[in-house]
């Protein structure tokens, strides 16, 4: 039982870590590729003093916060509790 629980948790953690890493990569390199290949869009002004590029730059930082928060929340509630169970299971054995 403990072994099964461990496997499924380990795989879930791997999937979540990969999904979040891929999201971060997509966001950041999306930003960089826009800088590289669509300079006019990045320079377009949304309002006086705020270009698309500056706004997206700030949003990349906000996105980093949100993604770390998502992971920490999942790990603190589900992953830790699950691994505690696995540890207890080992103790009982």
């Amino acid at each position: 039982m403990s072994e099964h629980r461990f496997r499924s948790l380990a795989e879930t953690r791997w999937r979540i870590a990969m999904a979040l890493t891929a999201t971060m990569i997509a966001i950041y390199f999306g930003f960089i590729l826009l800088i590289a290949y669509d300079k006019p869009l990045m320079g377009r002004l949304l309002t006086r003093g705020l270009s698309v590029g500056v706004l997206l730059g700030a949003l990349v930082i906000v996105a980093s916060w949100v993604l770390t928060w998502v992971y920490v929340r999942w790990a603190n509630t589900h992953y830790d509790a699950g691994m505690d169970e696995v540890r207890r299971g080992e103790g009982a054995r």
């Binding site: 380990a10 990969m18 950041y28 960089i32 590289a36 300079k39 320079g43 006086r48 500056v54 916060w65």
Partner: protein
Amino acid sequence: MIAMLQGAAAAQREVATRLGEPNAVAMAFFFAFIAITLGITYWAARRTRTTEEFYAAGRTVTPGQNGLALAGDYMSAASFLGIAGLVSTTGFDGLIYSTGWLVGWPVVLFLIAEPLRNLGKYTFADVVAARLRQTPVRLAAAVGTLATVAFYLIAQMVGAGGLIRLMFGLSYETAVVIVGAAMMAYVLFGGMIATTWVQIVKALLLLGGAALLAILVLARFGMNPVALFAAAAERYGDAVLAPGRLVAAPLDAVSLGMALMFGTAGLPHILMRFYTVPDARAARTSVFYATGLIGFFYLMTFVLGFGAMVLVGPEAIRGVDPGGNMAAPLLAEVLGGTPFLGFIAAVAFATILAVVAGLTLSGAAALSHDLWVNVVRHGEADSREQLRVARVATIALGVVAVVLGILFKGQNVAYMVSLAFAIAASGNFPALVLSIFWRRCTTEGIVASMVIGTATTLLLIWLSPTIQVDILKHADAWFPLKNPALVTIPLSFAVGILVSLATRDDVAYEKFAAAERRMHVGAD
């Protein structure tokens, strides 16, 4: 004395600044910082008796403390002075660094922090070597570590020398020697405990100083950053809010982005911090705090950079230092006069000193823990011997840092750091990820990945326009990219995977199940 007068005269010509003249406030803050940190070192020295205390602060650092210390280790002078300078002179282009330097942190959290804490002891090589043959892996990891540390150290020492020369009118060489001496005192006597607290003090000073500066800037624009950006665009054209010349070649931008994103997860002095907390959960929480603090700091660099552009002016900034590195101190002078200039200059200096201490400790750990204890002595060295070797290594690295700092006088600070990131991203990061998550990796594969990742990065940097055109003044360079990460990170992964598939390592396969369990549930 002559250098001081020349510095002052040069500054006077371009802009009315007292930068470069002896500044009583800067001196006072600077000596207060040195006194406090040496006090901390004295306190820490009495608690540093074992290797676990020397390398890992006895694993008693709390997540909040470690979050601050990680931020302190990471927010180097390159970020504070370099980014503020880049933004103030190029506008939007500087922001590519601001964002790039943060996005590595989520990657550290998702892939590295917790496995590292559960699988290793003092260095990242502990993790890579956990299932593999010790000697070749440790040798290769030490090369990657020392190459990263060397480039990073050069950048910091050059920044420190230039900064102190501009601030206090001391000679560049004297400044570099002072940094080397103070840093060696922290690491030699106080080990990781002193280094951690130096980072915490520095992080609070830097975040506080930058926040104060940002608030003073914003106060002139109705607390509205957009009004500040508008003022910059009004004076210097809308182009300052758009991508410009710095990323003339698209692939350069992508390559630099890859180095920044994956390099963070391969920086030895950052990775070493995860061993100072009690468990994996604390490691996780500390990255969460660090990401918040560092992101906040980089958002402030938007304000500081554009603030310096509007309130000081790009020409004046370049007049004082062609690299633009003095933008933040000059901005402080405009906003708060000489005393605030002194405070910010002292904060920038403390920043460099703390980062250099962290780097030196991680380099010393690679030399003593990885090379001496595990390769030369095959793990058979007692605690006394390990500490003695670690301290000798610290002195050696301190001397090397001072010598390199003097040899590399006059280089751009931000760029040297991004080269260190390229080595960390190509030499260290792929090996870490493969060895933690991939059952099928072999000693040969991982060693090949580390050696080829590091070697090709160094080779391509040598062949790049950064060295060939900017430094050696050749007409063109054989390799087109300023930063090689776009080529070297995929290459390092490919080499690691292909060589692993072509070889067998039955011991490594057998150990995977136990290592995987330990990575998730911890050592006990």
